[in-house]
Each structure stands twice: as C-alpha cells, then as structure tokens.
Symmetry: C2
Subunit: 203 residues, 2 copies
C-alpha cells in the first residue's frame, strides 16, 4: 500500500494529517506536478482525473479523492473517530466538512487556480473574474466559521474531526493562494492556534 | 421532522430519491426561491448559507447539506446501503459520489448559475466565461462515466448507490441548465434508462 501525492498541495496534506491523527503510517511516493507527472500515462490509468492523492492498495486497486481515502482508513481504524459517531454526530461532521470544503477550500483554491501565474498551464482557461469572485466567498465562510467557533471548541462541535483538518489546511493555503486572512475573527484565531499546535499539523 | 426544500432544485431531489430508495417518508415544506424565502431571517437562522435542502429534526436541530442529510438516514436505516458496505465499498462509493458531484454536478450547476438569466440576482457576480468553461468539463466527466459504465452496471459498481442518484439528478438538470448531452455515450444511455425507470426517480 502506498499514497501517491505532491507534497506541497493541500489535498495530500489533508490525508497526511488524517493518518497522523489515527497513528497510521503509509509510505508515500512524490509526483512532480510541474514536470507533468500527473499527466503521465501510468498515473492517468490510476486516476483519469489526473489528481493526487491516490491510495494504491497492494492488489493494485486505486482509491482516489481525499475524503474517500480518509473514509477507507476510518472504516479500518475507527478510533479516534474523525467522521463523527452516531447518526447525528456523523451528519454534523459531514455538514461542516462539506461547508469547509465546498465553501472555504473550494473558494481559496479557485482564487489560486484562476489568479496565480504558476497555474496558467494547469487551469485552462484561467478566468480571473472568477478567481476574484471567490475571495469574498472565502471570507464569508470564515465569518460563519467564526460564529460556529464562538460556542464550539472544534469546527463540528466538541471533538476534533476531518472538518478541522479541511479548515486548517485551507487556512495555511491562503498564503500561497494570496487570499488575505481577515483580522478580528477571534474565535477562528483561538481555534487555529490549537489545531495548528497538534503534532499532526506537521504532517 | 420535516425537510425544507424547493422542489425544482436538483439537491432536494437527491434527498427525495434517496429517501424513496430507503422507503422512508418525511414531510416536506416548500420554500419559494424566487420570492426570496431562502433569504428570510427565519430560514437564515436554520442555514446561514441560505440553501436547501435542510432537514429539521423534532427538537429544532437543522441538518444542512444534501449528503449530510442522506448520511443521517443511512445511519438510522442502513438497508439498502446507499453509501456502500465495508471499507473498500464505502471508499468506492465516496469516490464516485464525489466525482459525480464535484466533477459533473458542479460543472452543470455552474453553467446554469453563471449563464442563465433567471440566476442573475442569485449568482452575483455572474461570470459568463466561467459558465462556458464548465460545459466541456461536464462532458469530460460524462466520458469518464461512460467508460466506468462499460464494465459496471451502476456508477460505483454492481450496486445502486448515492453516486447514481447524483448522476441521474444531474443528467436531468442538464436540460434547464442548457448543457447539451453528448451523443454516442452508449453506456451512459443504457445506465440512464435503467435508473430513470426506478420508481424513486419520480420522487
């Protein structure tokens, strides 16, 4: 079993943090985005979408999509539960993981992909107006997160979850994406300090 | 318990089909998007994102996000399993549900939201170039789906799953979204006939 990734990209980091929180070690293999290794024939056979991370099982089966990889390990190693427990707990984590991913991470990565010169050959066509439109969306979601964190220790409630992982990785990706973090979100700042200090954040 | 929805929108239909496949009946309440009922104070309290569907539990707890609502019911009524069984089965459904949602549904709804005149007041700013850029993306994902369906009865394998629901609802939404379905995808056509004929598709 191994994970194919590009170390600098935010999605592979989500998987690394998830595995660190579970205490699971899986070997990784680095692919170089800039050298076109995600467009090679051999990698395209594993993931037609030409995206990392991909978990390659020992029998050669590829599992693509960050959250699908995380869920695979959640099923095999249920503790600590990072997707929640019970019907309401799992639904709540799913809700907040989706809000962080579709509302925050997608906005920040869209700003990056459509505005950053380094992405010109990877995001075709780059639509600058769409990149700009995503910046205020990211900030709107951070304000919603700040309100959620005013009465919750973690993104989805009392317990650290995959929703925290998505939010943390996105916060750290705002700098290369050139999306300015708003000031004065005291609950987000308090939460960020705590989750960024966990050993898993170095993964 | 009730579900707040706008009947014409694709996401509430995903929940209705999911519940029909499970044999679960939940009362629904219609909100009128065009009359601004999704922007009302009372609805915004339930979902700050101002989006449907929202599942409102008897104690007043709101569960937002289509897939979070579906997962809530999957936990309470595990059969038939629509999110897969076992670690590999669940990961495979998650992978294909995400591909159908992030690759196909998001592309079709982006074309709709950024190009359709009726959305001018709801998608601000409308970025026409981004709407156009999404049309070939939807078709690329349909070609990947066609290849998947050349050796699988359903989107995620041998068994009907939430990935089929997302794909079916998106196929039907291509017409109002004015994204032309490509011809000659014989496996997609064979699959579409089968899933559209299930009683749940009328939900």
């Amino acid at each position: 079993m191994k994970i194919l990734e590009t170390r600098m990209a935010p999605n592979p980091r989500r998987v690394r943090i998830f595995l660190a929180e579970k205490g699971i070690e899986v070997p990784t293999e680095e692919l170089d985005l800039m050298k076109g290794e995600l467009k090679s024939d051999s990698f395209t056979k594993l993931n037609k979408l030409q995206k990392v991370p991909v978990l390659l099982l020992d029998d050669g089966t590829p599992i693509c999509e960050t959250i699908a990889i995380c869920r695979y390990f959640e099923e095999l190693h249920p503790e600590p539960a990072l997707f929640g427990k019970g019907a309401l707990g799992k639904a709540t984590v799913e809700m907040w993981q989706r809000r962080m991913e579709l509302g925050l991470m997608a906005a920040v990565t869209s700003a990056f992909r459509h505005l950053h010169p380094a992405m010109a050959n990877h995001e075709v066509p780059q639509v600058a107006a769409w990149g700009e439109a995503n910046k205020p969306r990211a900030l709107d979601m951070l304000r919603i997160l700040d309100e959620q964190l005013s009465s919750n220790r973690f993104v989805a409630g009392d317990t650290y979850s995959v929703a925290d992982i998505t939010a943390l990785v996105t916060m750290d990706f705002m700098k290369p994406a050139r999306v300015q973090r708003p000031e004065g979100l005291v609950n987000v700042e308090r939460w960020y300090k705590e989750v960024a200090a966990r050993p898993s954040a170095k993964a």
